[in-house]
Amino acid sequence: MNFLLRLIEHAFDFAFYLMHAFPPILVLAIFALFTAVAALLVFRRVSDQKAIRRAKDKIGAHVLEIRLFPDQLSVVARAYFAFLRSLADYLRHILRPVLILFVPLFFLFLQLDAYFAHTPLNAGQDFLVQTKLAAGEPLEKVALKLPEGIAMTAPPVHILPEREVIWRLRADRGGTFLLRLAANEGEYTKRIVVGGGMRRVNWDRERGGILVALISQDEPPLPAAGPILSIQVQYPDREITLWRWQVDWLVPFLGIMLISALLLKGFLRTEL
């Protein structure tokens, strides 16, 4: 599993490397287009296309029925219930392909989220690192070891009720750094990425099982028996500019993917 995850990560890293000169919106559009094509092909392959077509036709027929025979209440009522049955039938038929598509798209979205959700930290600008400790662990005994190129710009803040410690740091140059947190005779790391355009960033490292391992991607979960619950770096949010609006990456991605799928579904003979 771990090997597979690493493989996926490397594949995406390579793809992003190939497109490193492109603006983020273009990279996003390329991924959306490929996703639409792949999803359409998979959807066609794993779904009962004839049954979906039949169900859609029935839905259309019953909607038309209501419009064609509005003067006959019993016909309208029958048509409406038949419409609901057909709609349920349609949803039943698309459930299987949607569930199957969920798995690859889940991994895809995780990968894209790692690139598009946040930008790397900027050199010369302050940022916060926040850790949350398990119950009973003394906050004052947590120490942060800074690598060369990262400096602390303010003393740590201890928030006792939340069991959190927050540091304000600054990187004086770009690169990938490893912060080390010492607590209860153990040492825990958190990678931070500074500068460099489209790069993979992981804002959160926390305890957890396979699910957290998937989400945390290139950093393994914190040990379950350790004193630290999570280490978070406050990366700036990446916002995509669409005309005059700043939007989350998911908006243009879904938009482009939906439009591409709509345009290509006829060409790829996929009934959605």
Partner: protein, 698 residues
């Protein structure tokens, strides 16, 4: 698998932004489901909320009629060509229990047909209640008086009025112009205006569909995608070059890399009118190693075909360029694999979901039916009699096609019946006409042996057909109560067609039609010398005078000369005897001026021929050809006919109500319906209303 399911369940428990979406499938499903749900809900709500108001206005419109109405619902089953003698014979054999029940408890009568007794003429009188002189339909075809060529009598289809010329393309600005040539107002227009809902399914001569408050699917005379009344294609490795004839195109199947390539012929490319380019849909056939079937690859579709079996309806797209295309539907039949590969394709029907021409009212009605029950035949003459007649289909394949179309029609009818709680539900079934045309030969062993397409069950085919119709009547009777008037009607009966009379040859041999010297014999009057011709035969029963001022090369003066010529033709032709059999080939000849009354009499054939039993116009005469012999033997599978003396081929009238009186005619149905629903019969109607009372009321 189980781990996967648990994992997916966990995702739902741990939602994150990135998991909110699972691909275009789900996106479309959610969005489109929601939108259609919204649309359906709003439509239903609107229908329910406005229902009382609409009912109130309907009541206001027809309050007088309601008081006088004698019926709430009328169901009309039209069986084209059902013959009263055969019905009687099969009832006596106890093959038709439901018709026998109607006969015993309600009504069974002969129903007088029209002059001439041809479906488009008779059904036009059925729906308008007038004689042909007022509805303008005298045959399937009428003469183009300028060119002496036949043209469709029911509608005229022309290209769009304006076109934008860009380079080699002419882009149509607007749709095709379709002008109905049938005149008169159908009864459902009167009823609809009075608030009586009507569902009209496949009644002939309803193309183009006209607006009225009800639903209608056009029937006979709806063209195929090429604009013809049905041109099938036959694909074979036996020919190297394309061959075309009336109603068919034979296209070679060319072997290439293990595939056989061919194309479905389509309409002319209207974007390039100067080139007369034909649009084509290319396809390839792959035959299985077992030689029992294969696959057709057409425009990305893979259609499985089995030897001797029809495919489902296949969508065929003809691309004209500039992103413009025309869609139709057809079915394939793999006829043989060895020694020659032979594939039959039905005429390409207008696609009911994307109609190139309107075939229903409202336009969405044809779409509704297709979405509800699947694709269906839309062509007016959907049963391919030409293919059987010319030996491209055998009896079994033809029958299968007929019954397949019939099943579609039954579905439509029962859906319409369920939607017409009050009002009129009228549906015409063509299968009775087509099968009798093609299987009448089995009533005579000698005749059957002389014609192609043999069927071991041939003698029983028509009997089984009537029994099938009887079952349909039984199913209908189960769905209606006794206060619903059920009418079973046919437009004409049937007789055998053993010998054909070439009217043009008769006219030639009797000095009415002259030929050019040394001109070759040809179709459509190719060798006729119009400057010396006084009359010509066209269509199934018509003789037209070559009248000055009407025909482009007319020589007969209108008035006394024309009247005298009509009289002379009637007298000479009536009683024409077949020298070989000594039977009377023409029992009656009708002078149009004494037969038709109304504003469109001028368009009628000047003389209408009523052939005797066993006779009909010959194939060559119908094609405008002058041959050596006047009467010739009919050797085609098309062996039953009705285009004869109308007195010999009345239709049937069955009803669950008692209908009194005598001399019932198909023209009476429209005024009867108006009166039953409490409306005044318009004075121009020629039919007379019947007195009908529920059978239980006796």
């Amino acid at each position: 698998m189980q781990v996967g399911i648990v994992f997916l369940m966990l995702q739902f428990l741990y939602p994150r932004q990135v998991q909110a979406y699972v691909g275009p499938g789900a996106g479309f499903a959610v969005v489109s489901s929601f939108l259609t749900f919204l649309l359906a809900s709003i439509s239903s709500l609107f229908a329910i909320v406005t229902w009382p108001a609409r009912q109130f206005f309907r009541y206001l419109r027809r309050r007088r009629a309601i008081r006088r109405a004698k019926v709430k619902r009328v169901v009309i089953l039209g069986f084209d060509g059902m013959d009263p003698e055969l019905a009687e014979r099969y009832m006596q054999k106890r093959k038709l229990p439901n018709l026998a029940k109607l006969r015993d408890q309600g009504t069974f009568r002969n129903l007088a047909t029209t002059i001439p007794p041809i479906s488009p003429v008779a059904w036009s009188s059925f729906l308008t209640g007038v004689n042909p002189g007022k509805h303008n339909i005298y045959d399937f075809v009428m003469p183009d008086r300028q060119r002496y060529l036949p043209e469709l009598s029911s509608a005229r289809i022309r290209g769009p009025k304006r076109q934008l010329k860009i380079g080699r393309y002419s882009i149509p600005l607007g749709g095709a112009r379709i002008r109905p040539l049938r005149k008169g107002i159908p009864f459902w227009h009167y009823l609809g205006k009075a608030g009586v809902f009507c569902s009209v399914i496949r009644v002939p001569i309803t193309f183009p569909p006209e607006k009225f408050p009800g639903v209608l699917l056009s029937g006979m005379c709806v063209p195929d995608i090429q604009g013809t009344q049905g041109t099938f294609s036959f694909h074979t490795t036996a020919v190297a070059k394309r061959e075309s004839a009336t109603n068919r195109v034979v296209v070679p199947l060319e072997k290439k890399n293990g595939f056989f390539d061919s194309y479905v012929p389509g309409p002319q490319n209207t974007l390039k009118p100067d080139t007369k380019e034909e649009l084509r849909a290319a396809f390839r056939v792959k035959i299985e190693a077992t030689k029992q079937g294969g696959q057709i690859q057409l425009d990305g579709q893979r259609i499985a075909i089995r030897l001797g079996e029809y495919s489902d309806w296949v969508e065929v797209e003809f691309k004209a360029g500039l992103g413009i295309s025309v869609k139709g539907i057809c079915r394939f039949l793999l006829k043989s694999v060895e020694p020659e590969l032979e594939l039959y394709a039905t005429p390409v029907n207008i696609h009911p979901m994307r109609p190139a021409l309107p075939i229903s009212h409202p336009l969405t009605y044809s779409m509704y039916l297709a979405k509800l029950n699947g694709l269906y035949a839309t062509l007016g003459l959907a049963e391919d009699t030409w293919a059987l007649n010319d030996g491209y289909l055998d009896d079994d394949a033809f029958l299968e096609q007929c019954y397949s179309n019939h099943r579609e029609r039954e579905q439509m009818f029962f859906d319409a019946l369920s939607k017409t709680g009050q009002g009129v539900c009228a549906c015409v079934f063509d299968i009775t006409d087509r099968v009798q045309h093609m299987f009448w030969r089995y009533f005579s062993e000698k005749y059957a042996a002389a014609t192609p397409g043999g069927n071991h069950n041939g003698p029983l085919v028509i009997e089984e057909l009537y029994a099938r119709m009887d079952r349909l009547i039984g199913q209908t009777m189960e769905k209606i109560s006794e206060d619903t008037l059920l009418l079973i009607v046919s437009d004409h009966g049937f007789k055998s067609f053993e010998r054909g009379v070439n009217l043009n040859t008769w006219l030639h041999q009797n000095g009415y039609l002259s030929l050019k010297a040394d001109a070759p014999e040809g179709d459509w009057y190719e060798n006729v010398d119009w400057d010396r011709t006084r009359a010509y035969g066209l269509g199934m029963n018509g003789i037209y005078l070559n009248q000055k001022g009407r025909e482009s090369k007319g020589i007969v003066e209108d008035g006394e000369e024309a009247a005298e010529l009509r009289r002379e033709l009637c007298e000479t032709l009536q009683g024409l005897t077949d020298p070989e059999t000594s039977r009377i080939a023409i029992t009656k000849a009708f002078d149009s001026h004494e037969t038709f009354f109304g504003p469109y009499r001028e368009n009628a054939p000047d003389v209408v021929i009523g052939f005797g039993e066993g006779y009909r116009v010959s194939w060559s005469s119908a094609q405008g050809r002058v041959t050596d012999t006047i009467i010739e033997v009919n050797k085609k599978a098309w062996s039953g006919d009705h285009c004869i003396d109308p007195a010999l081929v009345p239709g049937v009238l069955f009803s669950n109500w008692k209908i009194s009186g005598e001399g019932h005619s198909i023209t009476d149905i429209a005024p009867t319906l108006l009166e039953l629903f409490g409306l005044a019969v318009p004075p121009h109607m020629d039919g007379k209303p019947w007195a009908a009372t529920p059978a239980t009321g006796d």
